[in-house]
Point group: C2
Chain length 370, copies 2
Amino acid sequence: MTGHFKFNVEASDGAARACVLFTPHGELETPAFMPVGTRATVKTLSPRDLEEADAGIILANAYHLYFRPGADIIAAGGLHRFMAWNRPILTDSGGFQVFSLGDTARITGEGVSFKSLYDGSDHFFSPESATRLQEDLGADIIMCFDECVPAGADRSYLEQSVRRTADWAGRCLAAHSRGDQLLMGIVQGGVDLDLRRESVQRTRELDFGGYAIGGLSVGEERPRMLQTMEFTAGLLPEDRPRYFMGLGDPAGIIDAIAAGIDMFDCVLPTREARNGRAYTSGGRLNLRNAAFANDGGPLDPGCDCYACRTFSRAYLRHLVTQKEILGLHLLSLHNVTFLVDLARQARAAIIGGSFENFRKNFSTTGFGSV
Amino acid sequence: MTGHFKFNVEASDGAARACVLFTPHGELETPAFMPVGTRATVKTLSPRDLEEADAGIILANAYHLYFRPGADIIAAGGLHRFMAWNRPILTDSGGFQVFSLGDTARITGEGVSFKSLYDGSDHFFSPESATRLQEDLGADIIMCFDECVPAGADRSYLEQSVRRTADWAGRCLAAHSRGDQLLMGIVQGGVDLDLRRESVQRTRELDFGGYAIGGLSVGEERPRMLQTMEFTAGLLPEDRPRYFMGLGDPAGIIDAIAAGIDMFDCVLPTREARNGRAYTSGGRLNLRNAAFANDGGPLDPGCDCYACRTFSRAYLRHLVTQKEILGLHLLSLHNVTFLVDLARQARAAIIGGSFENFRKNFSTTGFGSV
């Protein structure tokens, strides 16, 4: 970790922890939910909406920005200026997208050949080029270029990917030169605990400023995902931030925090919103349900977001059933607010030494399972 | 005009005038552009966005709200509470939609039979039922149920529709009982000036609180539309608000103001936004144009809206080409702000006695024609 960053564990309660990560764009309190702004926009939300939801950090995606609008467009002023967001940003390296979108990835020589999701043209990413791309984008936290393996891959493939990911991680580290960016290593290994241990060991040897757990939430069974997450988190160094990639349902967030994860991201809150679903203190609601047609009450009586303090469920249902964009916007704003708040409440509970109690209460709200 | 309303002409400059309409939901300064919230939402914009754009009044549509969500849902708290908008609202009666959507209208007995655009079911609107519907919705300004004739109708049909509209206007007036609503009569007659004169005369005889010019902007040639508008506006009483229905391009607004129109509405600014087009002080821009890909400047240097003071054209173009909802939202916010401002600037010019000069300057901005 360079001098531009500092990471303090402020309190812990069991494995759960409350930390602060100091970045060039301010302090990030964790645990923190990171809304996903794939194409440099968190769907339907403006930066001021995200500030209102009090998101401490957002994520963007190097793969998509490489194609549209192109790194050269963004590099001039950086991603913060491009999307008018002045708090921390994390970019994903593109590894996940290269391997999961379109099924065209071929590992050749020093990197991966693949076809663009946008126009089918041929492209090549290497650990060096993915690092350089993320340096051009200029996020505060950037990720190693890794090989993400689908659920159900056989052991020899998994083993190979763990070693390749570690090899690539070393190359990313060597290629990375911007001191104002924190580069995170990524642990792979599927749900094989031995491979996870090996992956942690190989990645830790390189001494990253932070560690991510990748390759989960990709189709494996949830109990094994949770078990692997907990096992892996326990092997990571105490004094570095830990990021679990691609988890964002309310119950999953609480499980991740309990396992000692500091950061997590997911497209779920905005995707659920676009399907008319809202997270509330009473569980998940589908606004399309006719029961809400005449419901004059707020979406979530326990929430203070603009949508909840301004509109009735009846109005929100009207917007959702009529496919009005305002409905998508309001539910997105609410869902993001809900998850950011949830992580923040967990943080307060950890500091107060009552996280287990908080977790038990949460499990009665209708989010016990997904 | 009942005691809940008052209309003052504050200044005039040629035929153009600056007025104030006092309503149960506050004062409306005119000339005023009215953003259209067909289904109780101005597309992509929240009430606070509309307040920020400083829209003085918005429009909603009785036809659409009758079907979705249904007047019973809205009647409980009224449209203002339903959509959380505390400034004046105007509802259209549904006449235009009944006759123009789906081509199923049949004039029978006391009103019109038609099939729902939503599910094809049979429905019947009469002057009485359309008035009652608008009383249930509870807007500040409501419209008579009229027969709107497409451009190119023959004279005998036009003549018949003028008389039927006047007959129906009398029935709307008789059926209307809410003192806190201003009912406007509608003048028809296509582009036939004699029929327009007859329609004005028949409608004025009934003594409405305000007068609308309907049946234009429906496909006729623009010079004839403008000529008919000017001719008709000149026949309307000085001491009542005048509303030109369905006009909202920048040049049209200035022409309408010059003709002595006080209010106008159009879906154009939000529809143009959804097609990637923005009104600016330099004319209309298509954000899809590749020329903006690397343009770090604001959308409109002359505008102070959130979109213009926060983002570059390059970012807005990125959002628009990627079909990101935030792009639709930001362009809608800007376009509505632009038209509301335009009417407000015209008002200031009228008060300052410099409207002709203002109009001349405007014609050089690239909006001389559409």
